[in-house]
């Protein structure tokens, strides 16, 4: 079972899917590094990593099916899991960020009001 047994119909789409998934994930992480605010960062990362994971897992399914000469679908477990859990984590993190920024703004507002009363 070497790479030499890989037929052409699996090689071309799998290679293109791998390149697309790598580029998407890399772009998402560059967005994580470069964007100025938290909400822009989570926007870039959650979409990039979900799409990249989907591309890589479909490519993996193609390659294993072509190598083993039968349909291999157990990568669909990871795909389903990532597709179900990525929005949940993104939403919880965004709610935490909204809550924390609102608490901080309230604190600053209270501090400013207290200073005004004291002066």
């Amino acid at each position: 079972m070497t790479m030499n047994a890989l037929p052409l119909w699996a090689t071309l789409p799998a290679g293109m899917l791998l390149i697309a998934g790598g580029l998407l994930t890399l772009i998402g992480s560059i967005g994580l590094l470069r964007f100025p605010t938290f909400f822009q960062r989570i926007h870039a990362v959650s979409m990039g990593s979900t799409l990249g994971t989907g591309c890589v897992l479909i490519a993996s399914m193609l390659v294993s099916s072509a190598l083993l000469q039968r349909p291999v679908v157990h990568q669909i477990l990871i795909t389903m899991f990532i597709v179900m859990t990525a929005p949940v984590t993104a939403m919880l993190l965004m709610r935490a960020a909204v809550y924390r920024s609102r608490v901080r703004m309230d604190d600053e507002h209270d501090a400013a009001a207290e200073q005004k009363v004291e002066s």
Partner: protein, 93 residues
């Protein structure tokens, strides 16, 4: 044609490792706690993808179980950290 596929696999692995490095930089630099949690989330997803690339390149079946476990535990950890940021405790009485 197989050399083309090998180049594609190497390119994807390189992209995932670069993405891991960027997430690590953001985790050390992040101004708020939620930035660090988001960077940790990105880091474990990219580590899982790197393991999947190892599995594709070596055509072995063991790596998929490891990737599934990393996805499971990473999800649990991120949910726990986000819940802690939101509420102040993880398991509420």
């Amino acid at each position: 044609m197989n050399t083309l596929f090998n180049y594609a696999a190497w390119f994807a692995s390189l992209c995932f490792v670069l993405a891991m490095i960027f997430a690590l930089i953001r985790m050390f630099r992040g101004p708020a706690a939620q930035d660090r949690v988001l960077a940790l989330d990105t880091l474990y997803i990219n580590g899982m993808l790197t393991l999947l690339m190892l599995g594709i390149r070596s055509s072995s079946i063991v790596y998929f179980d490891m990737a599934l476990l990393i996805a499971l535990f990473g999800f649990a950890g991120t949910i726990a950290l986000a819940k802690f940021l939101l509420r102040g405790e993880v398991i509420e009485p």
